[in-house]
């Protein structure tokens, strides 16, 4: 890969941000590659077969599913976002295209988003100030689209005490600011 160009984070730094507010830890994740996978019309069965072969989960609506290499969450009817570790998968779209063939349309999304991983014993007091998702009522593995601070985001509940937010990369600062101020209110 590029040996001259140095990547800049969405927050304008070289390193991932880690922020602590009360019991909350927000960790910016730079090490995840992301691509959208959408079924070509009438090719759902082909995609399921091909996805199985490459180890790409295709979870049900509002669900996130981890996999060996690829994790995935549902974003729209017949459309998912696939995650993979960035090292070795920076060209995630090309890799998936090779595996899924013409059963799906694949588009690189890695740099369209900033990802913040949230950790706290109870995230409900924070998230209830940020979005209208019933986070405490949602099961583990819940994934949904929502709006945080006017920004369209994906919110995933991987497990207890954890939340994963994908927000628009260009607004990473505003989004983090919203997280910080809501956390100060909550705790």
């Amino acid at each position: 890969m590029a040996d001259i160009l140095i990547a800049m984070t969405a927050l304008g730094s070289r390193d991932a941000a880690v922020v602590h507010v009360g019991p909350l830890t927000v960790t910016e994740r730079l090490d995840v590659a992301l691509a959208s996978v959408a079924v070509r019309r009438g090719r759902a069965k082909d995609l399921v077969k091909a996805a199985k072969a490459v180890g790409l989960p295709l979870p049900a609506p509002a669900r996130y599913q981890a996999g060996k290499i690829f994790g995935a969450f549902w974003v729209a009817p017949e459309m998912w976002f696939a995650e993979a570790p960035l090292p070795g998968h920076e060209e995630i779209a090309a890799l998936l295209k090779a595996g899924l063939g013409d059963a799906a349309s694949v588009t690189e999304q890695t740099d369209a988003w900033v990802r913040f991983d949230l950790a706290a014993p109870d995230l409900a007091p924070l998230l209830e100030r940020l979005c209208n998702v019933d986070f405490p009522g949602a099961p583990d593995g819940h994934a949904t689209r929502t709006v945080i601070d006017h920004l369209g985001c994906y919110l995933i509940k991987p497990g207890p005490g954890m939340a994963r937010i994908y927000g628009p990369r260009s607004s990473a600062r505003s989004l983090l600011h919203a997280l910080e101020t809501a956390a100060a209110s909550a705790w």
Partner: protein, 980 residues
């Protein structure tokens, strides 16, 4: 001052003393006090002046229905007008000011209005200030506004923050009186997720104000135990100081939590208030009831209050409203006040009971069939005049009078979807109708069930019904179950003076009579004509009296007369609460471009474009005004090479076997013929034939395109395409996703554009590989995936190069350093604008939502060989008029002449009137290349007027310039430069 009116008992912490001031005078109170209870405890009865007549007023109630005791709390940016003293929780250091008086509360010069009251009857200003018409806005209204009104605002910025939030539950219980507590207990014990919200700072509702017993404990103790049990349930959320203000659609309720109002200032980082949106599976309204007064002459003096409130002050706050107290009632509940006060040792001088017959209260002078017909005392009650059943009148010396005209169930929330409450003659009040918000049940006094036992039972039953709970119902404790015994009395007919119905708006019985006399008999008309029920209390104590009087006057029944519409919010909500965090710099989130940090380092000037912050220009040392920077950027780009961050343009990835067909339908021109590896300028029309957006779309593969949109329309175009895909043509195999943020994209323009790019691109990008309008995948800087498009909006040899966003900053720095020999310049949106206008490209000023392709000189792009959105309607007769607007270039005849965007074209010698209007200048810049102002414009029949001279007239700014109409292509009209 000492707390002269403090008596024993009450739910206050006497172990702690809170100091506060009212109009600068120091007082003390205790935790648990409201401002009103603390003032009463200190013997202060005069708390405000009325809205119109500046009548001295004291506290009428002990809750959120208060119309009179409105004060300004705090100072500076935190000053809040119209705060009800009855709900303002006392804190140490509280500073309150009375309002709507000058120079002081005790002596208010505008009390002269009261003397002139006969001139100020309802509707007086509509009739009085009619001429001359022009005086209204400048003279009459300002004077009236100054004389009337409530509190003032400091005009300083509020230093506090307000949050918004979202809550979810199976059952929302509104109100934590006996009924709400029982509903919450029933639901909580079943394992349901429950939210119990109450506007008070102590749960229990009327149980805190009464001496009634539940089971074998005082009601307040039962409430405390219930709250403790609820607090132990992990799925129950108790929300104190939280008013449910509105019922919205689909089980959504609005609630305001006053997080910090009981503190001098919020704790660091904490909000003052939170506006909650509560998503409730079901809800129970257990909002209790509000007592109403009886109107009689001079019934508004400080010291006259609702009987139930007087009882609350004694029982909950340990305060006696006066030293000699009387009660005026038409129902049994008023008698409770007398017995409770007497039990506390207060001197209850008389009970004036308007009802005939019945049992007499033991040990109290109980006058049956009597009425209070007048009162005396300028700044506070000194006596009341009582007319006894035998017609004899008597003046009784008292300093406090409790009045009870019955209780109105709080139906408001239930009526927010226009449900009309229905009249229940057995309690002489409106109760909730049948068609309230779906999923909302009503219990307790809100439902017209006035006994404690009834409240507990209906609360339990409502919770079980709401949640569909089967099985045995929880046992209920023993509680009083007295019936409502009331003989309605709305106003006392004896007496010639004014009897007040709506104390907040100074509406009297006479005003209602006047409204009737002038035929404003509909309740909605009565409200508008008299202002009954307006302002902060929304007529909680006065409305029903007003409409009952109107019913009597018109000979209709009360239910026939009906109520006005109940609307949110239930109690006033501060604007700051509604705004939440969205103010000032946090009004909206920002979007930063990949080059933002580089630009900020250079001292670039940014411009807001939607949420984006784009570089507007990048000043260099010695440049003192913007034109110097922009001229330099333009000239440097045209001389050598310039770089501009164009990431903000929308990018939409379009894939699928029908992608090309899809594009043919959404673009007016054809894309199915576009070869792989090429891009094309596209014009998108709205359904009505008007141009929607433009941009270039590249074909990266047989079934893969990437579309660009304007920055402004990135979202709306994507939404439009999704609509087309999902709704219009679901049979097409097309997949869409935005990639705007995924790629950092730079325009590299100028004669040396290719040479500069060759420094970073790994491949040959010569004409053979990347001819004009070529597009494709490349790599840069030793293998990084990238995209290159040979497109130009500047008229120069130009490319757009895109890399994954995280490398955008580095790519820019690399291009600048590796290409230093070409002296590259980074330019902003101003230079972008200059160059596109020099080249005659349409942008925001021309894509104005009113113009067609033909207007823009792009009529030939609308293909007739296929159908596409907007093509048919773009051919409407009115849109293809040969004399319609056409895009033209404009330059001043005198090169030193100034053009102003928005100026209108007029023929030489024509009058500047609309009939002679020839069109307007849509965009204007100074062209350093041409050395003069230039502009684009829409001119009627403009394509036939090239070479003509006209005037560009700006009547707003008073400017006029003689101009020459020219081709919009000012610069390199043959396009030799952009083809390299």
């Amino acid at each position: 001052m000492t707390q002269s009116h403090r008596i024993e008992g009450g739910q206050i912490d006497r172990g702690a003393v809170l100091r506060f001031t009212f109009d600068g005078l120091p007082y003390t109170g205790h935790p648990g006090d409201t401002l009103a209870s603390a003032l009463l405890a200190n013997g202060v009865r005069l708390m405000g002046r009325s809205f119109k007549y500046h009548r001295p007023r004291g506290v009428l109630s002990a809750g959120s229905e208060e119309p009179n005791a409105l004060v300004e709390l705090r100072t500076g940016g935190r000053q809040e007008p119209n705060t009800r003293a009855t709900v303002a929780e006392l804190y140490d250091g509280l500073a309150a000011q009375s309002q709507n008086r000058w120079p002081s509360l005790r002596f208010d010069a505008l009390a002269i209005n009261d003397r002139l009251s006969s001139f100020f009857a309802a509707g007086f200003y509509y009739k009085t200030f009619m001429w001359p018409k022009s005086f209204w806005e400048k003279l009459y209204e300002p004077i009236i506004r100054r004389a009337a009104g409530l509190g003032s605002v400091s005009l300083q910025e509020d230093p506090d923050v307000y949050d918004k939030g979202f809550l979810h539950c199976d059952l929302l219980v509104i109100g934590a009186g006996p009924s709400g507590l029982m509903a919450a207990l029933t639901a909580g014990r079943s394992g349901a997720r429950v939210i119990l919200a109450d506007e008070d700072f102590r749960m229990g509702g009327r149980l805190n104000a009464e001496t009634l017993v539940i089971g074998d404990a005082p009601g307040a103790d039962w409430a405390s135990a219930a709250v403790a049990e609820l607090a132990s349930m992990p799925k129950v959320r108790l929300m104190l100081r939280t008013t449910v203000v509105a019922a919205f659609d689909h089980g959504i309720y609005g609630a305001v939590e006053r997080v910090s109002d009981h503190l001098a200032e919020p704790l660091p980082g904490k909000p003052r208030q939170v506006l909650w949106r509560i998503y409730a599976g079901r809800a129970v309204l257990a909002g209790g009831a509000t007592e109403r007064p009886i109107a009689f002459e001079n019934n508004d003096r400080p010291g006259i209050m609702l009987a139930g409130s007087m009882r609350a002050y004694a029982n909950r706050w340990g305060v006696q409203a006066g030293e000699r107290v009387a009660i005026f009632t038409n129902n049994d509940d008023g008698l409770r006040t007398a017995t409770d006060l007497q039990a506390k040792g207060v001197d209850v001088v008389a009970v004036i009971d308007s009802r005939e017959g019945g049992a007499l209260l033991p040990g109290i002078r109980h006058l049956r069939g009597a009425e209070v017909i007048d009162s005396a005392g300028r700044l506070g009650l000194k006596s009341v005049t009582v007319r006894q059943a035998n017609g004899r009148t008597e003046e009784i010396r008292v300093d406090a009078l409790g009045v009870s005209g019955g209780w109105n169930p709080n139906v408001n929330i239930h009526s927010h979807h226009r449900s009309r409450p229905v009249w229940d003659a057995s309690i002489a009040a409106f109760v909730p109708g049948a068609d309230g918000p779906p999923g909302l049940l009503v219990s307790g006094a809100s439902a017209g069930v006035m006994s404690t036992a009834g409240a507990l039972q209906t609360g339990r039953d409502a919770a079980m019904a709401a949640l569909g709970l089967a099985g045995a119902a929880p046992d209920l404790p023993e509680a009083e179950d007295a019936p409502v015994r009331i003989t309605p009395l709305w106003y006392v007919a004896h007496g010639k003076g004014r009897a007040w119905i709506d104390q907040q708006n100074d509406v009297t019985v006479k005003d209602i009579k006047l409204a009737k006399q002038e035929n404003f008999t509909s309740v909605e008309h009565v409200k508008r004509y008299t202002t009954l029920g307006m302002a902060t209390d929304q007529g909680k104590t006065g409305n029903v009296i007003g409409l009952a009087i109107m019913a009597e006057l018109t000979g209709r029944s009360i239910p026939e007369t009906g109520t006005t519409i109940y609307r949110p919010p239930y109690t006033p909500v501060a604007m700051g609460t509604l705004a939440g965090r969205s103010r000032g710099r946090e009004f909206k989130p920002f979007r930063l471009t990949p080059s933002h940090h580089w630009a900020a380092e250079q001292g670039a000037v940014f411009v807001e474009v939607g949420n984006w912050l784009r570089t507007q220009w990048v000043p260099q040392a010695g440049e003192t005004e913007w034109r110097q920077s922009v001229d330099r950027e333009v000239l440097a780009t045209r001389r050598s090479v310039g770089i501009c961050d164009v990431t903000t343009l929308g990018k939409i990835d379009i894939q699928g076997t029908d992608a090309a067909r899809f594009l043919d339908r959404v673009y007016a021109n054809t894309f199915s013929t576009l070869a792989v590896g090429k891009c094309r300028y596209g014009l998108m029309l709205r359904e009505d034939g008007i141009v929607f957006d433009d941009g270039t779309t590249a074909r990266l593969g047989e079934h893969e395109f990437v579309m660009t949109t304007t920055t402004a329309n990135a979202v709306t175009v994507f939404r439009h395409l999704e609509f087309c895909r999902q709704c219009l043509w679901p049979d097409l195999d097309v997949q869409l996703i935005s990639t705007t943020e995924a790629w950092a994209q730079y325009s590299v323009a100028g004669p040396n554009a290719r040479r500069l790019l060759e420094k970073v691109v790994d491949l040959d990008i010569g004409d053979a590989v990347f001819p004009y309008m070529g597009a494709g995948a490349i790599t840069v800087c030793n293998g990084l995936r990238a995209r290159l498009f040979r497109i130009s909006f500047s008229g120069e040899l130009a490319f757009e190069i895109a890399v994954p966003t995280r490398y955008g900053d580095a790519l820019l720095r690399e291009m600048l350093s590796r290409g230093a020999e070409f002296d590259p310049v980074v330019y902003g949106t101003e230079t972008l604008g200059v160059m596109r206008i020099e080249k005659g490209h349409v942008a925001g000023g021309e894509l104005n939502g009113q113009s067609t392709a033909l207007n823009m000189g792009l009529g030939k792009m609308v293909s007739k060989k296929k159908d596409a959105i907007g093509v048919v309607l773009s051919q409407r007769e009115g849109l293809v008029d040969p004399d319609g607007y056409r895009l033209v270039g404009v330059r001043p005849v005198d090169p030193a002449g100034k053009l102003v965007a928005g100026s209108h074209f007029l023929e030489i010698g024509a009058d500047p009137v609309a009939a002679n209007d020839g069109g307007w200048l849509t965009s204007k810049v100074y062209s350093p290349h041409l050395g003069c102002d230039i502009a684009l414009g829409y001119l009627k029949g403009g394509d036939r007027k090239i070479g003509a001279r006209m005037r560009a007239v700006n009547l707003v700014g008073g400017t006029e310039t003689e101009v020459e109409i020219v081709s919009p292509h000012f610069f390199d009209p043959e396009g030799e430069r952009l083809r390299g």
